[in-house]
Amino acid sequence: MDRNQIKKWLESPGKMGHKYSLWAVYFCTGCGIIEIPPVITSRWDAERFGVLPAPSPRQANLFLITGYVSVKTLKAIIKTYEQMPEPKYTVGFGSCPINGGMYWDSYNTIKHLDKYIPIDGWIAGCMPRPEAIFIAVTHLWTLIDKGMAKGYVKYRENYGRYRENQEKALGKLEWPRLFPIKDENE
């Protein structure tokens, strides 16, 4: 551990703590999930990077959106995301959440996931290899260090518009609002 690291630990121990222990939500949203088992098992061993799956979103701070998101899954994703405690980070896998991917003309998949929940990082590929997932984790560390991984803050501040988009895609949501909606015109 170099001097820089020690300094960082002393300055913001909380940030460093959650940066090096990212608990991923155990949720197979799309086909990208097929590369998660290799990543968390012995061959690639994501635990070296402090990444492990957490059984419940309540104990997780990393949400890997693994691939395409159908309308029905989007509902589950929003529910899960809103259950996660802050600070929380999201990573979109592969082409599909970025711009629709293969399913760009499907009537039942979401094309731009960042219209509905904030995403802190995207990984290119269809699907991303385990190596790319590791590099993504190191990039996420940098973003957390620099304070750029602020998706959850954005969600809180723009909740009204996110909620509006969500309801456009899903119809009326049956659960109550997570945050009180600020007046847009203020």
Partner: protein
């Protein structure tokens, strides 16, 4: 299966003492496989901008964007594919369809970013995009992204064996060289319907050919119609831009095939033969085309010369409703094409088929009418509202070496063989020239020799200033001539025609050529004076080029006619010369000197004539 022993799982404990299987990534990087389908790489030099990758992409991940820095040229568009990694599925279809093999996939696959805009990019390669490709020793996994890629990192690359297109053309049935050199039968037999459809099926519809074609024929449309088994529809598409398909289907210089994207790694589509297939298959043009000229405008147009330009002009103007009269000194239509291309390449029937159709549209043809002799140019100008000059180049040039008046000029030779009685040739013929006309002459000559001197040893040799690499004739044409037994003497120039005591030709004295063009690229041959060779000959034919005959134009008018520095008639954007009401096109205007460019000129002049005629009152 029985219940196992409760202790048996503990046998696995020995794995504790084995070397761990975990890869110490990223400290010990694992190279992707040689065929890995990672990020795209595009060789901009090879890329033709044909857009097949964009067409095949199932996800719409590729769009073609125009690159202003690249100059479009025949066979190359100034477009390059732009990839969207928010769509791409890395299937490699684009690699397998790419006709020039420019697109490939590399072993790179890292791009992690918080901004989705960075996921779409225009792929280049080390040469066109040097700042984004780094040497392997400077490459860092932690920095790796679309703007930090490793040089020389091959992945899934194109393989012609497994390409999605068919690189080889359907072979054209031809008469064997031994057989065809004995007579004037048509050499190329033409595709059968099955062959034509198979050949048409190769077309990738990238339309590079349409841009390269001077007349901009809708090539991919008419080829698709052939593929669908609708030759009539195909003919209609051709007739939109080209009214002489039977002629062009045989002798076109096929700029399109040179531009064909398939030709980069395989053989170009046989666009010319397919056009010929359509023209030959459709027996009744009138029934197939169902064209009706526009209502008569009452304006009169005279066309001088019934060559490809004149015929096209007649066709397009007749459709516009003008009254068209075509003058030609020959007994039939076709102009130089009627007398020039030998019978084995362009039979008279094919020409007449096209001419008769144009005649059926109400065009008046006056054959055997030489302007300047039978009718004066001045009269024509008086009688008609506009005149189109499509006179082409009708005079053969001579080498003007000593005794060259004893030689036969190429066009006379060809004309006599085609539409009059055949020339008597000797057993040893020498043809001077290396162009397509020289090839025609040589090949006709060897046929005549075989007919006139059956069973005897005959020789036709060709002498050209140009060496093999710069010989102006088509490669194909040279190959076929060689197959038929023509002996070539490239890089030799004629010095003297040798005569015997009776004044008959004995041979040709030649000098070795040092160089043909000077430093500025102008034609100015120089010779090694000490290297000489005598070719024995009893007949010598000169085929070194043609010139136009403007003698029918009265002197005072000719002086008003403006010429370009390259001795071509100067025309404006409507094809009008410096004489008002006189339009021109074809070989006297352009430098391509071929039929399809003459058609293109005629199309321009049609608009010009129409514009010009609509402005003047009906006389």
């Amino acid at each position: 299966m029985k219940k196992g022993n409760i202790f048996s799982p503990f046998k696995a404990i020995r794995h504790l003492f084995r070397k761990p299987k975990t890869l110490k990534y990223p400290f010990e990087p694992k190279e992707p496989a040689r065929r890995y389908r990672g990020f795209h790489l595009n060789d901009w030099d090879a890329c033709t901008g044909c857009g097949n990758c964009a067409d095949i992409c199932p996800n719409g991940a590729i769009i073609m964007v125009e690159i202003p820095e690249i100059k479009p040229e025949p066979g190359k568009k100034n477009q390059r594919p732009k990839l969207d990694y928010g769509r791409c599925c890395f299937c490699g279809l684009c690699v397998d369809i790419c006709p020039p093999g420019a697109l490939s996939l590399t072993g790179d696959y890292f791009h992690i970013h918080f901004d989705t805009k960075t996921f779409s990019f225009i792929p280049g390669d080390e040469k066109s995009d040097p700042e984004h490709f780094v040497d392997p020793q400077n490459y860092s996994l932690l920095k790796a992204s679309l703007s930090h890629r490793k040089k020389n990192f091959p992945g899934f690359s194109p393989d012609i064996e497994y390409a999605l297109f068919e690189p080889e053309r359907v072979p054209m049935p031809q008469v064997e060289p031994e057989e065809r050199s004995l007579s004037f039968i048509e050499q190329v037999l033409g595709y059968s319907e099955k062959e034509a459809r198979a050949e048409a099926a190769r077309c990738l519809e990238c339309k590079l050919c349409e841009e390269a074609c001077p007349a901009h024929l809708k090539i991919s449309d008419y080829i698709k119609a052939i593929y669908l088994g609708e030759p009539e529809e195909s003919l209609r598409k051709i007739y939109e831009d080209n009214p002489i398909p039977a002629i062009c289907g045989r002798i076109c210089m096929k700029h399109c095939e040179a531009a064909c994207s398939l030709s980069v790694r395989g053989e170009a589509l046989s666009i010319r033969w397919l056009k010929r297939f359509v023209a030959d298959t459709v027996r009744d043009y009138q029934k197939a085309l169902q064209q009706k000229p526009a209502p008569s405008t009452g304006k009169k147009l005279a066309i001088i010369g019934a060559g490809p330009g004149g015929l096209s002009m007649a066709y397009f103007s007749a459709l516009k409703g003008h009254h068209v009269t075509v003058f030609d000194s020959l007994p039939g239509g076709g102009g130089m094409l009627r007398v020039g291309p030998p019978l084995y390449r362009l039979p008279i029937e094919a020409i007449d088929k096209d001419v008769n159709y144009i005649k059926s549209l109400g065009v008046e043809f006056r054959f055997n009418a030489t302007v300047g002799k039978n009718i004066s140019f001045g009269d024509i100008l008086k009688q008609y509202d506009a005149v189109y000059l499509g006179i082409g180049m009708t005079m053969s040039r001579s080498t003007k070496v000593r005794n060259s008046e004893k030689c036969i000029l190429a066009l006379n030779f060809l004309e006599r063989n085609k539409i009059r009685e055949k020339v008597n040739v000797g057993k040893k013929v020498v043809v001077i020239g290396g162009g397509n006309v020289a090839m025609d002459v040589a090949r006709e000559s060897i046929r005549l020799q075989h007919i006139q001197h059956p069973g005897e040893e005959v020789v036709t040799s060709a002498v050209s200033l140009e060496d093999w690499d710069i010989m102006p004739a088509n490669k194909e044409e040279i190959e076929e001539a060689k197959e038929e037994g023509i002996r070539f003497n490239p890089a030799w120039g004629p010095k003297d025609v040798l005569l015997d005591d009776k004044g008959n030709i004995r041979g040709l004295l030649c000098m070795k050529v040092k160089r043909v063009f000077d430093d500025a690229g102008r034609f100015s041959p120089t010779f090694y004076e000490d290297q000489e060779m005598i070719l024995e000959a009893d007949t010598i034919i000169e085929a070194i080029g043609q010139a136009s005959d403007f003698s029918f134009i009265p002197k005072e008018m000719f002086d008003q006619l403006k010429f370009t520095p390259r001795r071509k008639i100067q025309v404006d954007e409507y094809g009008m010369t410096s004489l008002p009401g006189v339009f021109a096109g074809g070989d006297i205007v352009n430098t391509n000197l071929d039929a399809v460019t003459a058609i293109a000129d005629a199309k321009i002049a049609t608009e010009g004539v129409d514009h010009y005629l609509s402005a003047i009152p009906i006389s």
